[in-house]
């Protein structure tokens, strides 16, 4: 049943790629909609697979990004004051740079999903 195993592996990589893509889309052009897609893909994955790994990674990246971007920005506005120019100096510069860093991370996650690997270790199983 060797051929079944390969198709299953391909299927898992396919799912993992879709999950990583949904995560990237949520971070860039379609926030929230991308996240809903990610949840939908997650429900099709099984524990212990590369697909599950990338779906969970997608959740982690997006939840941490949302917290780090919106929470910290909100705090800056709260403490800096809405009408202070310095608030916007920090918020805009911070948001742009950190947002990009998360996008670059998600891009790396996507190419790792394409090759069926986890973020750091080559997973040849």
């Amino acid at each position: 049943m060797k051929s079944d195993k390969t198709t299953d592996k391909e299927l898992q990589i396919q799912l993992a790629s879709n999950a990583a893509l949904a995560s990237l889309i949520n971070l860039t052009i379609l926030p929230i909609i991308g996240f809903i897609a990610l949840i939908w893909i997650y429900r099709k994955t099984q524990a212990g697979t590369i697909a599950r790994y990338h779906a969970v990674l997608g959740f982690k990246i997006n939840i941490v990004a949302a917290a780090v971007l919106f929470l910290v920005s909100a705090l800056m506005i709260l403490f800096g004051g809405f009408n202070s120019p310095w608030t916007w100096v920090y918020v805009i510069t911070y948001f742009t740079l950190v947002h990009t860093l998360f996008i670059v991370l998600a891009v790396w996650a996507l190419v790792r999903a394409w090759s069926g690997d986890t973020l750091l270790n080559s997973n040849s199983s």
Binding site: P85, W86, W88, V89, I92, T93, T96, L97, H99, T100, V104, V107, W108, L110, V111, R112, W114, S115, D117
Partner: protein
Amino acid sequence: MKYQSQSIAKLYFIAAIGLFVGQILFGVILGLQYVMGDFLFPEIPFNVARMVHTNLLIVWLLFGFMGSAYYLVPEEAERELYAPWLAKLMFWIFLVAGALTILGYLLVPYATLAEITMNDLLPTMGREFLEQPTITKIGIVIVALSFLFNIGMTILSGRKTVINLVMLTGMTGLAVFFLFSFYNPDNLVLDKYFWWFVVHLWVEGVWELIMASILAYVLIKITGVDREVIEKWLYIIIAMALITGLIGTGHHFFWIGTPGYWQWLGSVFSALEPIPFFMMTLFAFNVVNKRRRDHPNKAATLWALGTAVMAFLGAGVWGFLHTLAPVNYYTHGTQITAAHGHMAFYGAYVMVVLTMISYSMPIMRGQKAGNDRAQIVEMWSFWLMTVSMVFITLFLTGAGILQVYLQRYSEDPMTFMVTQDKIEVFYWMREVAGLVFLAGLGAYITSFFVKGEEVKIA
């Protein structure tokens, strides 16, 4: 190195690095003039130093592009360069013309330079980035045409790879669009409109083709990934660059007296301009991840990944930041533009040339890669220059936001000069970051002279 004539690239690269040093020295002078207004005044006023800074950048990048082409075209075409002697001759002509032009900027007042070079016969001087005397511009055209003839003949009579054809298209576009620099109507709006046919269609158009082909070439060499895969990526990246970038020119036509529809067209298409840069990041990450071999030149791999990320950050994200017309209404012509300009040029064009130099220079010096110690120094220089450029960009962004708020957005707007005093702290920090960049450049040059155990060509 498979073909003897590829080594001509070495000349071009050495000149490029030399002019790069000059560019950064003048950058540091400019940064200081921002905070110490009378520094070197009236000997080297700001406008002269800036002209030297930007023109040296353009000239050394052209040296870098031409050097890259002379290196990769013969190897891709699988034959020697059509006329190596012509490439050498043009090198000296371009170098002497470039040096004389820069000396002209520095030694005589600009108006005198215009007079000496008979600007009146065909006035083209005095427009941003196109400050070169008309005769220098004609020289640039001659050099560009000879160059095109040389690589064109090499490509046509050799193997026609996608990389070679894209490089040739990009360089042809570069030469063709430069011709608009000779059109200088009295009508200011027309002048500005067609000025962008050089500036925008270079940096957000055909230069992206050159960049993508250099990156694709280096990635094939260092990763060993199948050419078919890389060529497919290359096509789709440059397709997106031109599809978004051509009408994206419209983001320069918001406030110069051009019709209102440019607000929509410019905003929509230039909002898509990050896509090709985003795809370059995806492409570089993907092929490095799927590499079939571990090339000993780690530094070149780092530069290749670095240019993909930094081009996306500088050209893509920082461009998007102020490209929508309602935002640009406030940010147009402020330090935000300077912030974007610095990171975009460094990330896309400086780094891709350094990627090519990093890959090819050791080979032209008879090794497969620099020795371990040299590579470590080079990687240090990568991080010093890249991180300091990120900080230069962040500080200028901060300066720009504050400037926009105080001078443009506030209900009680301050004058330009008062605003400049308020944002001085950012200029000081930018100058410090600039000095770190200079140190990084020092490390970069040192890396060529670090001795160690040679990595032999297998």
